[in-house]
Subunit: 455 residues, 2 copies
Amino acid sequence: MPTIKLSIIGVGSAIFSLRLVGDLCKTKGLSGSSVSLMDIDENRLNSVHILATRYAAALGANLKFEKTTDMKRSIEGADFVINTALVGGHEQLDASRKAGEKHGYKRGIDSQEFNMVSDYHTLSNYNQLEYFLEVAHSMEEICPNAWLLQSANPVFEGTTLISRYSNIKVVGFCHGHYGVEVLAKSLGLDIREVDWQVAGFNHNIWLTRFLYKDKDAYPLIDQWIEEEAKEWKPKDPFDDQMSPAAIDMYKFYGRMPIGDSVRNGSWKYHYNPETKKKWYGEHWGGADSDLGWAWYQNYLKASTDKSFKLALDKSVNLLQEFPPEVKSGEQHIPFIDALINGNQGRFVLNISNKGPIIPGIPEDVVVEVPVMVNKKGIHPEEINPPIPKRVMNMYLTPRMLRMEWALDAFVSGDKRILQEILIKDPRTKSFEQVKAVVDEILALPFNKEMKKHYE
Amino acid sequence: MPTIKLSIIGVGSAIFSLRLVGDLCKTKGLSGSSVSLMDIDENRLNSVHILATRYAAALGANLKFEKTTDMKRSIEGADFVINTALVGGHEQLDASRKAGEKHGYKRGIDSQEFNMVSDYHTLSNYNQLEYFLEVAHSMEEICPNAWLLQSANPVFEGTTLISRYSNIKVVGFCHGHYGVEVLAKSLGLDIREVDWQVAGFNHNIWLTRFLYKDKDAYPLIDQWIEEEAKEWKPKDPFDDQMSPAAIDMYKFYGRMPIGDSVRNGSWKYHYNPETKKKWYGEHWGGADSDLGWAWYQNYLKASTDKSFKLALDKSVNLLQEFPPEVKSGEQHIPFIDALINGNQGRFVLNISNKGPIIPGIPEDVVVEVPVMVNKKGIHPEEINPPIPKRVMNMYLTPRMLRMEWALDAFVSGDKRILQEILIKDPRTKSFEQVKAVVDEILALPFNKEMKKHYE
């Protein structure tokens, strides 16, 4: 049986790491493999290492674990590298956000039309994009044949950047397409009878095909809107697949936005807290509001605290905490299993638009599309029916341009591009405001490298 | 010698019509041709008819003239139709502008990023676009083999619309590329020694090639900026080819914007009257300011008054008013001469991007590019060097999307598209504002058809 070495960069997010380890434990075909856990935060690294080791033991899985704070050591001999690191953590995202708010950019300058997700920074997080390249270039040196599974945001910008500026095999991962299951459940459909396709960019995917028992299922959405939409209430800030925002986008674009795409509408849904509440539900106003994001930060802190506690307390039954019969839903390990062992599977992945897979999008842009994966590699499905023209012209192409601008700024170090992007921002009233906020971001203590690059 | 019938739709603009007639008189190869002058304003029509007839007689030209207020009669038997009509005239443009200003859209909702030209309405002027199609569809019936020379604005949106929705041979005309001559003169260059190319969309063209005596002439622009830019002052509101706005765009995009493209920068140059003055010069602040546009309206009124006077006064020597040795610089008649008589010439025309002429732009979008015209037709030049990536990604593609949105709104009659366009507008503060301004535009008395279409 083939064994692999998997390196996970940025395991500090304990939940995510344990989900991956859990999946790996439950994948017979990868038994005997070794996992290198890497994080620069030693406390977190240690607790994840303890939990992973104990969990694997409890499951009787044959896995070897190592831990390191050194990325280059971690990827030595790796066959797969999962990059899930958020450079600077949420504290720095918050600081960037505050710097923006000081100049009239509520929720920060990175909150932009079709990209409102609060940890999907594309303009102010030079360090994150720079680290993406550092991992890729280190892989070119140390494990040139390994696959890079890019999980850290921004997946769209990041995967496109890496695919253009390195020779490493890179694939972007997200779970936004599981919104299809939420949709099916809301409509009372058995997901196994649903024939669906999504296509677009990461956090910008649309339900292009939606059949139930071989019949067009869009009328079922219309029926739900008529009969049940009024009763809808979010269970948490992220519960937005059936929100008024999603419905409004569907009505305008003709297809349903899926997963985080719902958070990524135009300013129409985001002008202020009241607007957000109207479109994403009381009382948070969605994930990307002050309230919603605070909820998420608390949730993250609680899980980190819990994982620390679990790691310290040897009496805890981890099998109870993470039931072994449930797979996480993350695609990473099944993807590896498909590629290594030929356990063919369907995935929604971020890959270069070669073909093109989505006509009208350049081939060097990374798209998020359904693919079949087996030993021979990644085989994108034909997108049929195609993405409607309105989605292409009014949503995807504008979103793609934002990616191009962000990458042009990052690669060239030309500050005027950041300024020009902000000139298009409805929150901008003058060019002086633009100059001031960009300088404020560059003056943040953790942006020393960024400042050097841009000045 | 072949003779043609030329129909000019909307001759009310006397200057423009007389320029065309003058060119025709001076084109030996088109002697014996007939010209049908059409306008719905009988007074203006009569005065243009009198002037044209007298001018041709004074020049000893063999041309026949007819006049009519009926477009369909005018195009009967036509070989060429020039559409220069502004439906509703400047009064309606002003009314639309005022409706916008009532809701916080200074200079109207049609003033948009990369499209600030004050008579280039693409959102509020349903009547104008509708008339474009009416002319084209009438031609399909009445003179299906004739060429349509689209001169009325918006040329970009209009020519693309017609090329997609009619079978008529259509070409868009503008004179923006003469900005190259202004540039050459400013630099003290002999234009005959300049090897230049421009490419882009109408009112959005860039100087992609600029050689002087076979050597790169861009350093001469840099030198001018260093030594002479400070002394620059506009002679009139339209004198902007060497303005600080043009220079700033050149510095950012790496190529010089040409002609009306200078007016079509981002909001950076247009936030308010002070900003406009800074970038387009004292005291007008460019053509698309309250002062600049008032200057232009006065100029138009003075020329109309003058043409009425000239028409009434038979003692006037028209040859003195319109010296026969000077050709107008308009491309229409030389274009016809090239096509009919094979007097080959180089033009800058708006044609479908078949080939593609500009890679990265869909083939059903009309581009403004240099072409050679002869009896065999229109032969676009290879654009070499190509348009820089920054111009493509940060200027032309966003501008193209605005065209697509405007046409999608016009064709579908979906009011939400107009709203969605305005959501992207930096002057928009709320969705309520958007709804209010669109409804205000639709309620204008001359927009009855538009309202019906959109509601």
